[in-house]
């Protein structure tokens, strides 16, 4: 059977499937449950400096099994309360990556220090959050902002720092390169796509916040393109995120350049058992295609002959 163990940014994972941030991540028991169900690691809910209730409902809309639109508004209990949840997860043996969000580089650095002290094996920076000044654009929307934030964080923590890249840009690879210059140990791509749903009978947006983020199988080709382009530009490892529902999806991301993967929306559609299924199926698929180890396949699609430059 193919070996699924991988090492990303200095972190050893028993398999490449991480629980994505925003799913099952508000309570330590849920993080522990995802670990026990077979996730290779768990990324926490994005935690901020203070408790946030998030936006009023409706905060979610689904499109059969191909898409999920959410505008939760980063509800979280805040960095003062959250460490007890991480402790519950760690006691269960989980490999925990702490996700944080903030409005500016200084706040990111302060939060990162607090999160790093909880025993997480790495940090993931959620750069798809609004500017502190309320610009309405994502805080990690320009390479300059990304480099500034990542540099401020890597200056104050010694755990590996993963920068989560937004797809709501015309150059995701430039954002990833900026993260690398700032000292990121890895990048994860992608976060959700900016999207909206409208109720034609009520003549209003469905979500209370209006615009939200689209995830699920519909965004896989977009996530893959970002990983593809990022792989061409950076030397740090990439964690692929976006619409992974099958082992084949996972392998597409790996062949595009990803070393590990995150799964979020599919947990919603299928339940937490998705992790066990994906690991089993990926093992089988690697066997079928002649790979002894997953990392033999990383970026392999780039080596195909006559690929145009991109």
């Amino acid at each position: 059977m193919a070996d699924l163990a991988v090492r990303v940014a200095g972190v050893s994972l028993r398999n490449p499937f991480l629980l994505a941030s925003g799913v099952w991540g508000e309570s330590g028991e849920s993080l522990a449950g995802a670990w026990r169900a077979g996730a290779g690691g768990v990324v926490t809910k994005s935690i901020g400096s203070v408790p946030r209730p998030g936006y009023p409902n409706p905060t979610i809309e689904t499109y059969e099994r191909w898409g999920l639109l959410n505008a939760m508004g980063l509800p979280n209990p805040g960095i003062e309360e959250y460490p007890r949840e991480i402790e519950v997860a760690r006691k269960a043996g989980a490999t925990v990556i702490g996700s944080v969000f903030a409005g500016d580089a200084d706040e990111f650095a302060r939060l990162a220090r607090r999160m790093a002290s909880t025993g997480v094996v790495a940090l993931e920076l959620n750069l798809s959050c609004p500017h502190a000044e309320g610009f309405g654009t994502e805080v990690g929307g320009t390479p300059e902002d990304v480099e500034k934030i990542v540099r401020a964080v890597t200056k104050v923590v010694s755990v590996p720092v993963i920068a989560k890249i937004t797809p709501n840009t015309n150059d995701a690879a430039a954002l990833a390169l900026a993260a690398q210059r700032g000292g990121a140990a890895a990048v994860s791509a992608i976060n959700t796509l900016r999207a909206i749903a409208i109720d034609v009978r009520l003549r209003r947006p469905v979500l209370s916040h209006g615009v939200g983020g689209l995830s699920g199988p519909a965004i896989k080709p977009v996530g893959l393109a970002c990983v593809w382009q990022i792989f061409n530009k950076v030397s740090i490892p990439i964690i692929g995120i976006g619409g992974i529902a099958t082992a084949q999806d996972a392998l597409e991301y790996v062949m595009a350049g990803a070393r590990a993967l995150e799964v979020g929306t599919q947990v919603t559609f299928e339940g937490i058992g998705v992790f066990g299924r994906l690991a089993r199926e990926l093992s089988g698929l690697l066997d079928e295609l002649g790979f002894a180890r997953l990392d033999e396949a990383i970026g392999i699609a780039h080596r195909a002959s006559s690929m145009p430059p991109d």
């Binding site: 099952w24 809910k45 999920l68 805040g78 009978r201």
Partner: protein, 258 residues
Amino acid sequence: MRSVVAVTDRVVETPSTVTLRFPYPASADPGQFVMVWIPGDDEIPMSLSYTDGPVKGVTIKAMGGTSRRVQSIHEGAPVGIRGPYGNRFDLSPRRILIVSGGSGAAVLAPAAERARTAGSSVTVALGATRAPELLFKERFRSMGASVEVATDDGSEGTKGFVTAVAERLLESEAFDAVWTCGPEVMMKKVIVAASPWSVPVFCSMERHMKCALGMCDACALGPYHVCVDGPVFPAARLEKVPDFGVFHRDSSGRRVPF
């Protein structure tokens, strides 16, 4: 995902509870809930108080901002409905004790109706702060359930908590199951009251909900999620929840004591 429907009936059940009826043909069973969207306001979970037929119902007690505003929805107003979600009461027990506090009768009454239709005997310990707040007392009586009342102020029935009435009933009669819904601290007491008699207890639980799909973790209850593993939980599962009856979570996910 949501059906936008017009409220067809608004019924004042007690000074603090209102029933809204709306067309929603999806099949539903007692225990299950829907997410009700008040356009421009909020979308909150509500147990179905009427589960059978093409017109469903929810019964709301005014607890806070949103539930108060939900109560004032008039007939003809549009609401968005999605669901039903969650699990259902197991209707196989033949002798059922129902213990209802707060607005718990909203979820227990349709369950009792199904049990009576199946020929099971249903005894109800119905509690409220005062007589006018006894929710669905007549509905329980008309389905042939035996109803014993408790009010905090003694304005009807036994003066005191409904759990005391439940204890007395458990001592004097044999039951195959206890179904309970109401304040969590009350439900915890019901489990304690039933344990000497080895009768399984099923609690209809409540937590903040956002997605109601098992994703966001807002309704995390120990290792479970109320939206997909509940709302109906047997006492055996609640034993795995250290926070049961002690802590719930606010909308940010912070633990708050009851």
